[in-house]
């Protein structure tokens, strides 16, 4: 293993969270060691959450009225949570599920449909690292999903196969499985019949006290799930109670039975374990992993019966490939990750309303939308393409310009605190006699976390020393320099291509 313990710990914290400062890595995480750190990341229920995090979005005047929810309130609430949470792996996993079960406001645009996406976000947080089976059964009856994939139109005698197909193709087995005997077109058609009648019961709202830290009101309250509904209900009348044959098994299945069948019946169980193991590894480590890595994770998943905490713990502790050179610094940050990690490392508590961009193609050129990832508006059911698709010129400029907004945010207003420059410098032990070289090195280690080439570092050192005429002059870390040059350095580093990777 070529990477040092420090570099491996920094890598773990970047991937399983949104990154940590060098002083935190040395003084906290390396001291407690990898096992304790992974435990803290994975078993986050034991970590006290920041009590100042609002339990619900602010829909005006500090109140929460779900009927007044708009995309700005909602995404600001989530972004703020990602920036300040003490449980970063939980939010990283919510982002993962938001992409895995990609559901977009562009179609769930029924009146007040945003509440459906809000409930989906709560569901994904509740089961973020729970059992995959429970999560799938939650998604089965998630109103946003029932709308998004048209299951509310799926009725006896006239089945709509959209949800059953994506459940197998995207959520559990993967398209490749259909080419390798994992499922057939007939399986999709038969499984669709098991979901007939599952639809949204209109006009039923989850109570406003429903909070992410509190008990999630049973989402079944908002949906009609045969046969758990009165026989006279529309849902029951629309449900097909006759036998279905899926994967060669014939029974009167309902939707939850299909999930159990996928996760319990071979070879579907193995396909599902490999699919989710590979996808988690690709999210946390690197793309196109070796078959033996996938097989290893799939074995863990099957042994623990789809316990997500178990597979994540194994991935971060026992899977050597996670710490290999192929993994470290090989992924491109998603726009959400980019924004959250920068704000966290620089200890800013920025105004998050508006960052998401109210509409795709909104006027602001420094939003997540302009960067290509407006939350709750993935391009389609496959989620965001990611990787190199994040980097078009306009998207890179959107990142650079957001970075400039952050670097030059000097606000001290609570809830919209820009970079507290003295606090940030103190965390790096940079006093008034610090040299330009020390300042450059510290911020490279904070924001990029791998060394830059000597010539690139020199460009930054020279930048710190240059006056407005472009002439290198004496560097003193005084108030004026902090306010101008250090903030300029932060902007330059956040804009570096190296800082788009993690």
């Amino acid at each position: 293993m070529s990477a040092s313990a420090f570099d491996r710990m920094a890598h773990l914290l970047r991937r399983a969270g949104f990154g940590a400062r060098p002083d935190e890595i040395s003084n906290v995480y390396l001291k407690q060691g990898f096992e304790a750190t992974v435990e803290q990341l994975v078993n986050y229920e034991q970590v006290a959450e920041d009590s100042s995090l609002p339990a619900q979005p602010d829909t005006g005047g500090g109140n929460f009225d779900i009927t007044q929810l708009d995309l700005d309130d909602f995404s600001a609430w989530w972004l703020d949570r990602m920036i300040r949470t003490k449980r970063p792996l939980q939010e990283r996993m919510v982002l993962f599920w938001h992409d895995h079960f990609a559901t977009s406001v562009s179609k769930v645009n029924v009146p007040n449909g945003l509440k459906y996406l809000y409930w989906q976000n709560l569901l994904e947080r509740q089961y973020a690292t729970g059992n995959f089976r429970d999560l799938l059964k939650g998604i089965n009856r998630d109103p946003a999903m029932l709308w998004w994939l048209d299951n509310y139109l799926n009725i006896k005698g006239s089945p709509n196969e959209n949800y059953a197909r994506e459940l197998m193709e995207i959520f559990t087995l993967g398209f490749d499985a259909s080419q390798a005997g994992g499922y057939t077109e007939a399986d999709v058609q038969q499984a669709a019949r098991a979901f007939t009648g599952w639809g949204i019961r209109r006009g039923v709202d989850v109570p406003a006290e429903n909070a992410p830290n509190g008990p999630l009101t049973d989402p079944a309250q908002t949906v009609d799930i045969p046969p758990n509904t009165p026989n006279t209900s529309r849902a029951s009348q629309n449900h097909d109670y006759t036998n279905k044959t899926v994967y060669g098994v014939t029974q009167n299945f309902n939707g939850d039975d299909i999930v159990d069948l996928i996760l319990d019946h071979e070879p579907q169980r193995t396909f599902a374990a490999k699919m989710i193991g590979k996808k988690l590894f690709e999210y946390f480590a690197y793309e196109n992993p070796e078959p033996e890595v996938v097989d290893h994770l799939a074995a863990v998943i099957k042994r623990t019966n789809f316990d997500l905490k178990a597979v994540l713990r194994d991935l971060f502790l026992n899977t050597k490939a996670f710490y290999s050179d192929r993994a470290i610094y090989s992924l491109i940050k998603s726009p959400a990750y980019y924004v959250v990690s920068a704000a966290r490392l620089l200890q800013a508590s920025i105004q998050t309303r508006g960052i998401n961009g109210g509409n795709r193609g909104n006027n602001s050129t420094a939003t997540l939308g302009a960067m290509g990832q407006q939350l709750f508006n993935p391009p389609d059911v496959f989620g965001w393409p990611g990787g190199n698709e994040w980097s078009t010129t306009a998207q890179m400029l959107a990142r650079a310009n957001w970075a400039n907004n952050l670097a030059t945010n000097r606000s001290t207003t609570a809830g919209n605190t820009g970079i507290p420059i003295d606090t940030v410098l103190a965390a790096g032990s940079l006093g008034s006699n610090a040299t330009a070289e020390q300042v450059a090195d510290y911020f490279i280690s904070l924001l990029i976390q791998v060394p830059l080439s000597p010539s690139m570092r020199q460009v930054l050192v020279d930048y710190l020393k240059k006056n407005d005429a472009g002439v290198i002059s004496t560097f003193t870390l005084d108030t004026a320099t902090k306010n101008k040059k250090v903030r300029g350095l932060i902007h330059l580093l956040l804009t570096r291509p190296e800082c788009q990777n993690f």
Partner: protein, 427 residues
């Protein structure tokens, strides 16, 4: 005899269709490969610019092109919002319809034969939701069950097949990017315009508090880009970033080099956006942008239409007139085509709030020196309605086909997954 070019082939096909034959949908993949090459030999589309103007919210087409022949019915159904007959401007010498006085600034263009009005444009099974109907126009796919492909834009698919993917300014959205321009393989940039029509945002911005330090920051960023990074995955982002710097420089140079004798309406974002397009379009040989997209909202006139719609129309007309004059002044009017559309028209009868509700078929307008001016399609009937709404007569994809085939240079069948014919409004 040499092999027919792609364009000749399509024209031949259209001829066949005109004779009443239905053509099968052609194999897209097979066509795509041969096509690209043949198009490259073809002059169609070379250096041409398409400007798409979206009137978001549902422009009331009946108060844009007023149905004079059915005026009594029009006036009786629209007692609150009808435009007075003596105010309606004559158009193309037509006795059946005329132009709203609020678009009078565009009348000289119409009189000079540089404007086409296409009547009763829409699609089967109209959807009265703004989002759904927009998505249909953005994608060029009216089938609501199409999900994944339905989310790519018709210009995006054209760009992927026939555009220049290596040019980061191949297609440009002003103030953001419309889904119309998106598709895998298409290169799209969103550039915002400030009040002066300069490219706010599409540049490497620096601390506004310390303008004197800007040169240092830009120089440092570019110096680092010029150095080699150690890892291939960083190189990719670095290449993009260099392209971003270079293209933003080109945009900045274009906007800085631009001078004009034309005065645009002041303090008006739509006109400022058009001005930015003019600045970029005048530098087109360098920038290579083929399609610009700009949108103006506010047309959802459920109430107080009599006050709101005239102001919107005046903004549209004044902005576009200045833009057209600017194109003429810069000698690029022959190279620029403007298409103006809205997601639906409005209900024939007005409502009690002095406004009009969501409707269906609408008129669509095309402006430019290479437009064959006049009316296309026939006036919609105000008595033969479906649920109070106009019946459509021209499929909107026929407009797209015409533009793809005769202006952008490309294969409308491949882009639109079907043969919708050519309306012939391009010279």
């Amino acid at each position: 005899m040499s092999k027919p070019t792609r364009r000749e082939f399509i024209k031949t096909s259209m001829g066949a269709m005109g004779a009443g034959l239905t053509l099968p949908v052609l194999n897209r993949t097979a066509m795509g490969t041969t096509l690209v090459k043949q198009i490259a030999d073809d002059a169609v589309g070379q250096g041409n610019i398409l400007v798409i103007v979206e009137l978001a919210g549902g422009n009331d087409g009946l108060n844009t092109i007023v149905p004079l022949q059915q005026y009594d019915i029009y006036a009786s159904l629209r007692t609150r919002i009808a435009i007075a007959k003596d105010q309606v401007l004559p158009l193309f010498g037509s006795t059946t319809m005329g132009l709203t006085p609020n678009l009078s600034a565009l009348k000289p263009l119409a009189d000079a034969g540089k404007m086409a009005v296409i009547q009763a444009v829409h699609y089967p099974t109209p959807n009265l939701s703004h989002d759904s109907s927009r998505t249909i126009y953005y994608s060029g796919i009216p089938d609501p069950s199409v999900s994944a492909i339905g989310r790519t834009g018709w210009i995006g698919r054209h760009s992927a097949l026939f555009g220049n993917a290596s040019n980061s300014l191949d297609t440009v959205g002003i103030g953001g990017v419309s889904p119309t321009l998106y598709a895998s393989g298409a290169t799209v940039s969103g550039i915002g315009a400030d009040a002066q029509g300069n490219a706010a945002g599409y540049q490497f911005s620096t601390d506004p508090q310390f303008a004197g330090d800007r040169n240092n920051q830009v120089a440092a960023a570019r110096a680092m880009d010029a150095l080699t990074s150690s890892k291939p995955y960083i190189d990719f982002v670095e290449t993009t970033e260099t392209a971003a710097f270079n293209s933003s420089d080109l945009v900045a140079q274009a906007t800085a080099a631009y001078t004009s004798t034309v005065t645009y309406p002041a303090n008006e974002s739509f006109a400022a956006g058009l001005k930015l397009i003019a600045k970029l379009a005048t530098a087109t040989p360098t920038l290579g942008t083929r399609v610009y997209y700009i949108s103006l909202g506010g047309f959802d006139t459920h109430a107080n239409q009599v006050t709101d719609q005239p102001l919107l129309h005046q903004r549209v007309a004044a902005g576009l007139k200045a833009f057209y004059d600017d194109l003429v002044a810069h000698g690029i009017a022959d190279k620029t085509l403007i298409m103006i559309w809205s997601e639906f028209g409005r209900r024939v009868a007005d409502n009690a709030s002095d406004g009009s509700d969501h409707g269906t078929a609408n008129n669509l307008y095309v402006l430019g020196n290479k437009v064959k001016g006049g009316v296309y399609g026939s006036d919609p009937s105000l008595t033969d309605l479906t649920a109070g709404n106009l019946k459509f007569k021209v499929d909107f994809r026929q407009v797209y086909s015409t533009i793809i085939q005769d202006w952008l240079g490309g294969d409308p069948v491949a882009v639109l997954s079907g043969n919708f014919g050519n309306l012939g409004f391009i010279l």
